[in-house]
Symmetry: C2
Subunit: 177 residues, 2 copies
Amino acid sequence: MGSGTHPADAAGDPAAASETGPLRWDIIELLFFAYRDFVGDADHVLEAFGFGRAHHRVIHFVHRYPGLTVADLLEVLRITKQSLGRVLKQLLDEEYIVQRAGDQDRRQRLLFATAKGEALVAKLAGLQTDRITRALRGFDRSETEAVGRFLRAMIDRDDPDKVLEQLLDHNRSVAED
Amino acid sequence: MGSGTHPADAAGDPAAASETGPLRWDIIELLFFAYRDFVGDADHVLEAFGFGRAHHRVIHFVHRYPGLTVADLLEVLRITKQSLGRVLKQLLDEEYIVQRAGDQDRRQRLLFATAKGEALVAKLAGLQTDRITRALRGFDRSETEAVGRFLRAMIDRDDPDKVLEQLLDHNRSVAED
DNA sequence: CTAGATACGTCAATATGGCTGACATAAAAT
DNA sequence: ATTTTATGTCAGCCATATTGACGTATCTAG
């Protein structure tokens, strides 16, 4: 209990400072509520399709990074093959995703979203985009850019997987608008 | 499928625009990764205590809003009484939280974090604060403020519960530093 | 060519954390 | 006195995660 780098501050004092600065209760809680409502948008739609968040994550990344292998997906989602298996099988059966054997390595299953899959992803991304656009309304260029920079800086950089690397590279090269 | 306000953009074109603007794939994915790593900080510690994320959420809000009732907590966390019951019982049994009957309404169980509970919350918040502080390093006042404004604007404002109202009010009155 | 490593699929068992429905108790409100 | 409210609890279901084991196809190294 005493091993933390942040000694407990006096109870009820949100601004109690330590050598490393005050605890950021504000941002911690804002992240909780913001993410809760952010994923909530998609949840309602997914329910109507008989899917859950797990399905969303899979179809999202498959759509965004076509030709993703099963192994890639496991790294990005940080789940086990068994967990992915169940969800992926449903998406394959219902034809939101198709597989193709790898060209160089025919053991690999390259994953692609079908038109049906793309439509679902776009619908979900649309809802989330609406929320983001609303939230950024009135932000000038430097403020918008700060938000992106903050989110990128919140992500662990040690052992980035293939997808994360692409995302971070892409973000660096494209100015936000 | 065709009911979305956002027609599917051409596959692979992240900047395809519709009347409502381009889909914000960048922010959508950054939020996913940022939140994943943000909660990941706490997960490792929690595991050592035999707790999960559910316990963290409960002890966190009880600590931050002392005297919170069970009903309040249900609203904030948006879970059922049965789900909360299991987790709350553990935290009570292991003395991370204590209850007290309400003063006006003795049916209510007002919840308070014990010193043990506070220490755990502070430890977890410390890890998350480190990440946030690192992410905001080099941000000037207006950039930091923009991040907070963005997160607040991402949150649903219809029927805010007691805790959320406090958080949003507090944030409005206190300049970020 | 054979041996081993790798990519993937799958079976079985288990845990966590959600859910619904039903019912009980104490205390407040009418 | 009755009803409503705040809470607790029992029983069972579901989604999603886990570990461990094993099978098969295919690539790679010797």
